[in-house]
Symmetry: D2
Subunit: 252 residues, 4 copies
């Protein structure tokens, strides 16, 4: 039997016009309103996900069940540069994350990647995350709680310069400005041969990190990779790539 | 305390010369042998993962703990075209997979993607996979068992043309030659608004699928995307992209 | 001795702020004016190209000598989709254009590619171009004259469906919506083994064209290729790719 | 009337099997021979370009007229890293090359790019090229002569460290290992506002060059770009990108 929308459900509303705008809304919020008209969300109660709605001005919307990925992309207040999904998925796979693993993250930022990592090791694993900026420390805690992963995540208001407690970890994800300064701490915090991914936006940072790694005996199997994502216009009769694609974000 | 290699451990051996060849071996296998010399694997017992070894001809190897991703890439006998990790990670994220979800897969192929999907929904979720080719049906079962996900995976020797049992599912992953013939069955098997990813190697198949979807009222928020992965030569003083990159594989 | 700006010179003005806006102006126009202030262009007379100017509000501009490529990109009124420079340069090379060659083009559009082709075969070669839309026919003639290539270019208000006169040609460049309908005419118009490039925005058009070519004995060495161009932020300390790149445009 | 092959013609032979191997041969060479059989090239005399031939073992070949691009790619002995056509075409366009222009090149290498530049400014322009390695100096002279551009090209056995004579130039193309050491010489050799392209394989070199340029007042409108080229399998019914693409080569 297909799932039914309840009065405490969260809904992903997708504007079915060309804009394809996406909204994350609570049915309990009762009214969804844009310049294209209003929708009474309570009419969704007891109907199936996937229902098509019309605003009072005739705009059509689909009411879908948000995935965790929708929740992260739309439901998290972000104040930092995001890790693109094209990168996040590849990172989770590359780290070999599984239920029960213990992962070290630095820094937590707004908690988006923390949530993705927590999801990958839940229900039994643990993320230990450091965040030195107090504002982000609070924001990431709030966002992780909102996504219901507080049980799996401990965020500390700490800098990576300090000793990393609770080691060794099964994997690490490092997203700080100058990771080359801390590779010794990171190496000590990792279990033998455990994978670590660094995210670095500039080629200069990669060079600095590689220089440090080449002088450090502990890292082997070093890869520098970059993912690109290209969207196509989804029209059967005129299938073509979009003129612009998302490209960049370099990591190890 | 760092983890210790035991006599029943699986080891990822990485050749530290320029070849960077990777081998998945059992310590209990006792001897690892290539044209670059032999290694007595039992010397690894009671040492930490990350240990560096030399063959009797002097070739150096790192002994790491394989991730699930290493196990899949190196430990699974593959007879079908693979889903690249760049795609697999993005697909898992895009489907929003979480512990406890129920996912429909067709076809299972050699079971590599089945294992990745199973890992993402374990320990409490379930994959129901169809595979019509008897050889692949048996191979995928064997590979899933080897990766210890038999508890989470049911593979059926069945065709997607038949009714899909155990519906509705929270997500679906479809990797068959002519998916456009079956979108009605797939749509009925999915919970309202649940995500589905199709993997299609040619632009012709995408066009056929889009044509069917445009005539079917049930699919919204259709995306056609392609990931590309580019590796860099990891040398600090001469950081540059490799001349060739892995690009392609189109999906929805 | 470096070149001197005269009162009948054309100038490429580049805004040296972050906008990097580019303007093609005549010194004889006397005044250049934007919301960032006015510049008296006559002060440039008898000075060298490369001079830096300030508007009366302090905005800085470089006064460069425009290349033919600047003239085409900025000086041509365009009403059609453009051929990107990343594609145009590769096409000219792929066609092996040299002084003296005779090239058939269809359709001329706004004349931008016509000018690039004419430049590549001048001073002694010839472009014969067809354009069936009267508005574009007139526009392309005007633009080619403005770029001083009237001597090398004959544009006809004609459709490719009709016989192609003045054959055989040494090369052809085809930019029409349904080239697959005309490959017989094109083949007859080309000298034996002469190269032809088709520009096609959608994968469907490529498939249709390939289908026709596979049934036609005259075409060999068929390639389908696509160029992508990626820009980097040109900052020494933070060298990184821009987040978005120009990608697409498929041709043969 | 279509062109006729003569006994002193150069022919591009393309193997019509899946290998698509390409050979540049002289009809006067009389016999073309591979493990797939022999061809008597004299049978081509007085026939049209585009003729299909069979070896005595049945292998099919097309006999085409080579373009200048074929002549460069196949007829030049190369001992240096090549500039890919995807880059060469874009560079010629970006430099705005036209008949009559004077261009400075350093270093000439095997003369492939010298030939492409010479073709773009012929018949009336001039390339002044420096090459400090005696072996390449001789090779580039030989290759340029073979391509019939000796009239337009002067190659000097000189280093860029020395003064650049015959300045100012309308454009420059620099392909040396450490261009950042010479930007002052290059700037002095260029006419005001004239374009220059540097080809640099590593990101480190780009950073060094940008650092020098940021400290030099003479360069404006600096761009760092990279072209990528992707080939598709040219099969109408199964149109798809090839799994690997040519990517890289960074320049300004």
């Amino acid at each position: 039997m297909k799932s039914i929308i309840r009065n405490d459900s969260k809904i992903l509303l997708i504007d079915l016009s060309d804009t394809k705008n996406r909204y994350l809304v609570d049915v309990s919020g009762k009214t969804f309103s844009t310049k294209y008209g209003e929708i009474d969300l309570t009419t969704l109660i007891n109907r199936e996900y996937g229902t098509i709605l019309k605003s009072h001005l005739g705009r059509r919307y689909a009411a879908l069940r948000p995935t965790i990925y929708d929740n992260i992309m739309l439901g998290i207040k972000r104040k930092t540069q995001i890790i693109y999904p094209k990168d996040a998925g590849y990172i989770v796979l590359w780290l070999g994350l599984q239920n029960g693993m213990r992962v070290f993250e630095c820094g937590a930022g707004s908690g988006a990647m923390t949530t993705i990592l927590a999801n990958a090791i839940s229900p039994d694993g643990e993320i230990v995350a450091y965040e030195r900026d107090e504002r982000f420390f609070k924001l990431s805690q709030k966002n992780v709680a909102k996504m219901n992963f507080s049980k799996n995540v401990k965020i500390f208001h700490k800098d990576i310069e300090e000793d990393i407690d609770d080691a060794p970890f099964d994997a690490a994800f490092i997203d700080v400005r100058e990771p080359h300064l801390y590779i010794d701490q990171i190496w000590r915090a990792l279990d033998g041969g455990a994978p670590v991914v660094f995210v670095l936006p500039t080629t200069n940072q990669i060079q600095q990190l590689l220089t440090q790694m080449e002088n450090h005996s502990g890292f082997t199997d070093i890869n520098v990779a970059e993912t690109m994502l290209r969207f196509y216009k989804p029209v059967a009769e005129r299938l073509r790539p979009r003129d612009r694609m998302v490209a960049h974000t370099v990591y190890l």
